[in-house]
């Protein structure tokens, strides 16, 4: 069972939920930029949430299915079609052998995740499937997909087979069949081109000029073209330290908002380095990270302050809803 890459797209990499445990050795965490979409894509095909999926960026690949496979595509709407027919997002889809999956215009968002039931048959590197491009390890041979690559797929588990069987029976002669139900948008992060993301104070917030802290939470920041998997570079009212002292390097995290001397903040994303020497004004809360990952270059971001208690309550609620989603998928198809 396999999928063949006819065209690779702009940047298509294998990702999972990241490579934890090795930051003390300077190894980045990496993983999906939008962990919510990646987890949902896997759950919809019966996989463990930590299975490998394809992260597809803005311009999607062209893929041919060498065998009938159960997939799902979640996250950005990059206009996917199979044999010319639009494929709906956020639901399981059975693609028949020979099916040709293409992508078109980016209708909204930046990154979508393609999960396949059973998961991609790849070796892990340091306990993860995530592609670490700079080190050339993980994912598919440590690199982005290119033309002619063949992705082998592992057999589905029982849940994946049950979902596939049910859909295949309804497909008849069509090149694919998708479930009539989909993940409710009420459960999703509030994806939009100009999101308001919530942030708690960063370790050095009090080192900033009070006016700059006010500007940070009141202003609108444009997403600059240099933004990538490492960080989102923003431009707005320049942020100034009250006392610009040199900071001793310390670790950073997914969503850390650091401010270099030019005053333009950078939100650190999946491929951030493990440590940084710039002051950290804020930290985007975990549940809002997917919102940033889906903002296109030229889009904008606003920040709203929340307490740590609120951030951790929101996290608890999101994780509880996530457990319910997994259960309801299981109940549909058991």
């Amino acid at each position: 069972m396999s999928i063949r890459v006819l065209k690779p797209g702009l940047l298509t990499t294998v990702q999972d939920l990241g490579r934890t445990g090795f930051q003390k050795y300077g190894v980045i965490v990496g993983g999906a930029m939008d962990p919510f979409a990646c987890r949902v894509a896997n759950a919809l095909v019966g996989n463990d949430e930590s299975a490998a999926a394809l992260e597809i960026t803005l311009v999607g690949p062209t893929l041919r299915f060498d065998s009938t496979l159960l997939i799902s595509i979640c996250g950005a709407d990059l206009s996917p079609t199979i044999d010319g027919q639009a494929v709906p997002l956020w639901r399981p889809v059975v693609v028949k052998e020979g099916g040709l999956l293409r992508f078109g215009a980016a209708r909204h968002g930046v990154r979508c995740y393609l999960a396949v039931s059973g998961g991609f048959d790849l070796p892990q590197a340091l306990g993860s499937y995530s592609t670490y491009l700079r080190a050339g390890i993980g994912g598919f041979q440590g690199r982005a997909l290119s033309e002619g690559d063949v992705l082998e797929v592992r057999p589905s588990n029982n849940l994946g087979r049950a979902i596939a069987d049910k859909l295949a029976a309804a497909a008849k002669d069509a090149p694919f069949a998708s479930a009539r139900w989909h993940v409710s948008s009420a459960m999703m992060p509030d994806y939009r081109p100009d999101p308001v993301v919530r942030a708690v104070e960063g370790p050095q917030m009090h080192g900033f000029d009070p006016e700059s802290v006010a500007d940070f939470f009141a202003g609108t920041f444009q997403v600059l073209p240099q933004s990538d998997r490492m960080g989102y570079r923003l431009k707005g009212e320049p942020l100034r330290l009250a006392d610009p002292a040199e900071l001793i390097s310390e670790p950073v995290a997914f969503g850390t908002v650091q401010v270099p001397p030019d005053g333009n903040p950078i939100v650190l994303m999946a491929d951030r380095q493990t440590t940084g020497g710039y002051p950290k004004i804020a930290q985007v809360i975990t549940v809002d990270l997917p919102l940033i990952a889906q903002v296109q270059i030229g889009g904008s971001i606003r920040f709203r302050p929340v307490s740590l208690r609120e951030a951790q309550e929101l996290y608890w609620i999101a994780e509880t809803e996530w457990e319910w989603l997994k259960k309801s998928i299981f109940m549909q198809f058991r």
């Binding site: 080190a135 001793i248 310390e250 951790q312 309550e313 608890w316």
Partner: protein, 246 residues
Amino acid sequence: MDYLDMTPLGDSAVLVKLGDRIDLDTHRKVQLLSDYLERHPFEGMVEYVPAFTSVTVFYDAMKLYWNRVDARKKILNQEEIPFDIAVRRLKDIVESLEVTGEYEPQTVEIPVCYGGEFGPDLEEVASRNGLSPDEVIRIHASGEYLVYMIGFAPGFPYMGGMDKRIAAPRRPTPRLAIPRGTVGIAGEQTGVYPLETPGGWQLIGRTPIPLFLPERMPPTLLRSGNLVKFYPITRAEYDRWEARSR
């Protein structure tokens, strides 16, 4: 431990500061806490990352509670949030640690082929400091360098202890690609690039031994707390070493 400051780094990490300046005393505390967490990770801890004056502990907010019912009760009733639990665990640990006089850092020796095509900036570092290239090599190779932390790239050591007599500022324009294994100087720091990366350091030599070994455990030659010594090798020795490690 006299200095202790715990602040949140977002909703899934605690920054444990054990000092406010880079010195040996703070470094030992960082090592002590890191060693403890390596051997006794607490329930819900994801990983720890040592730095110059701090250890950052990443946690899984849901796994810090005894069970989900307990989590629901505590979070929704405005009692202990996950951060409070992580801080409580870490306080107990830090208070139980004892800074003893004994300190045996592991020494790692790194062969370096200095100058030539591997060290295009050796002459400049020498002339800036009024030394000959051989004197720079002798001074660089006679030092003992303490690895305060690993960061920037896998296995890249932030080291202290370089002789001021061979200090040199960063290059005005960074190079686009510095080959892996290159040994450089930036200000009063020296380091080795584990991967090919862009960078502005002054390049004085190259080591044939890999610093990042993703198929090995642990995956890096150097760890925080190691003591590094460099020793010069000839180009012929470098080539033999390279050929052997293939």
